[in-house]
């Protein structure tokens, strides 16, 4: 598969979204919590608590929506500052109650609009980066579709970052890159190659720890084994004392 094939697959309308993962992995144990306690409830971010192999976890996802109505409702997975603040509130709650955090990342980017700027999109993302770096509980971030720049990173300062095989993670969209490089936003295929945004590229660059293989039909994915893998990872991370965990997290990003 070419880089552009991954871009297409990562954006495909029938690709499972965060809600699908939550349903398949956590089932009825998931309880959704709403709001950032500051301004509003951003539906581009879904979050709450759930049970994972008998233990509580905090779950946060960037949700694109699975049909047009849902997508409109979820702002196509592009969060406003209140979405990132809601995520941070739930992470702080996880820290207080000593439960690990799993972030499911799928966004073309943080929303670019008047309200987002007025309410401090940059500040909201910056605060997440800073606070996640020292959150005293394990964090695992999984890129399940698109990882669009700062809007994705704001949920991906973690102890481990995994990627679905055909997910992408990039500093700028291929369209944006092409329009800057060649003044032609249609040259997305070439730009996709240049940006090194596929799971294989990012694994080679040491930006992710693990690639999750995708079956042809994602619905048939082995969610059971996936779930066990996540649970084992949390057990391993929880076994570390907090100081070691945070030092490792710092070093993980310090090396780039």
């Amino acid at each position: 598969m070419s880089a552009f094939d991954s871009v297409t697959a990562a954006r495909a309308n029938d690709r499972p979204t965060a809600v699908d993962y939550i349903t398949k992995i956590f089932g009825d144990s998931f309880i959704e919590f709403h709001g950032d306690r500051r301004f509003a409830d951003d539906k581009a971010v879904i979050g709450g608590i759930a049970e994972l192999c008998g233990k509580p976890v905090t779950v946060i996802g960037l949700e694109k929506g699975r049909n047009l109505k849902e997508r409109m409702d979820r702002n196509f997975g592009s969060a406003h500052p209140e979405g990132y603040r809601k995520a941070l509130r739930l992470m702080k709650q996880a820290e207080k109650f000593h439960r690990p955090v799993i972030c499911l990342v799928d966004t073309s980017g943080a929303y670019c609009g008047i309200g987002a700027e007025e309410r401090g999109q940059g500040q909201a993302i910056a605060e997440n980066l800073m606070e996640m770096m020292t959150l005293k509980t394990p964090i695992l971030s999984i890129l399940i579709g698109e990882g669009g720049s700062g809007g994705a990173l704001a949920l991906a300062v973690a102890d481990e970052v995994w990627m679905l095989e055909n997910a992408i993670y990039s500093v700028i969209s291929p369209e944006g890159c092409a329009s800057i490089l060649w003044k032609d936003s249609s040259k997305t295929a070439e730009a996709s190659e240049c940006l090194k945004l596929t799971s294989q590229d990012l694994f080679k660059l040491g930006v992710i720890e693990r690639i999750i293989r995708e079956p042809k039909n994602l619905d048939s994915m082995m969610f059971e084994s996936f779930k066990n893998l996540v649970a084992q990872t949390f057990d391993r991370l929880k076994a570390m004392d907090t100081e070691t965990l945070l030092q490792k997290r710092y070093n993980r990003f310090r090396k780039y």
Binding site: G120, M133, L153, F253
Partner: protein, 296 residues
């Protein structure tokens, strides 16, 4: 120098032509002697502009200035000692045209990277000073930019010193792909460690500060100041206009706009910046340089 005499020579050519002989006799005036203010459109003598710290004496517009001049205006004379001056970017993900762009950026700016870091004294107070440089690829943040900033914060944490950062940036540097995005997390981690030690971090936002820099260390200061009218944004105005398909209101994303929305502490004119920084440092019990004026 009296500026009014000079302005005869700035009049449009057709006006001058009517003055007959005067043209023949007029002295040669190099272009660099005057500049046109992009805001009030009035010509300003370069000498006057420099005297006024590159602020238009007529309308108060703050011209963009390079990092070296910023250091000159901010640090006490002779106090600045640069760190990591030799660090420079390479084309790490083999991005098209980046090698040439880097070469040009170095030639045009005379610098190795988009940020200069070091220790300095401001009004007698010891600080770590970080100054971004718009003349190097529009202050974009690549891995070396992030590395220099991170090292500066780590040094400040180790030596228990306050940090002052002047930001100017087009955002993360596309040509280094995901690795430039990672600099946002890396620098934020270093800021957090510094902060958790109870140390002071002052950010000064200058025109323009956008993208990944706004969404990381620029917005993480304990105290955030800005120069007047600076553009401060996550997404730049053109990107927003394309997204929402409408014109943005005038002064949207200006320093004054952010002040009103509650995202910065104060707008400080360039002429007052150094005193303001020294005052804030004093109120935080910052350490003074030793009697001999030595800045360790």
């Amino acid at each position: 120098m009296n500026t009014s005499d000079i302005f005869n020579f700035l009049k449009p050519k057709n006006e001058l032509e009517n003055q007959g002989e005067q043209i023949e006799n007029r002295p040669y005036i190099p272009d660099e002697l005057w500049v046109k203010c992009p805001v009030c459109k009035k010509p300003v003598l370069s000498a006057d502009l420099n005297e006024n710290k590159k602020v238009c004496p007529k309308c108060g517009y703050h011209f963009r200035i390079g990092a070296r001049q910023r250091i000159e205006l901010t640090a006490d004379e002779g106090s600045f000692k640069e760190f990591d001056a030799e660090l420079t970017s390479t084309n790490i993900i083999d991005f098209p045209d980046y090698t040439r762009k880097l070469k040009n950026a170095k030639l045009n700016s005379g610098e190795n990277e988009s940020v200069i870091t070091g220790s300095a004294a401001i009004g007698g107070y010891r600080v770590i000073l970080v100054v971004m440089n718009s003349q190097f690829m529009m202050g974009s943040m690549g891995t070396v930019t992030g590395e220099k900033i991170t090292r500066a914060f780590e040094y400040a944490t180790e030596h228990r010193m306050p940090v002052v950062v002047f930001t100017v940036s087009g955002g993360a540097r596309m040509q280094e792909g995901i690795l430039s995005l990672m600099q946002m997390a890396k620098t934020s981690g270093a800021v957090k460690k510094h902060s958790d030690e109870g140390l002071l971090y002052i950010t000064v936002l200058t025109d323009p500060t956008t993208g990944g820099v706004t969404a990381s260390f620029a917005m993480e200061g304990d105290i955030i100041l800005s120069e007047p009218k600076a553009l401060i944004a996550f997404a730049g105005p053109r990107v927003i206009e394309q997204t929402i398909r409408q014109k943005l209101p005038k002064d949207f994303q200006s320093a004054e706009f952010l002040l009103e929305k509650g995202f910065i502490d104060a707008v400080v004119p360039r002429g007052e910046m150094k005193d303001k920084l020294a005052h804030i440092l004093a109120l935080h019990g910052a350490e003074k340089v030793t009697q001999e004026g030595e800045n360790k």
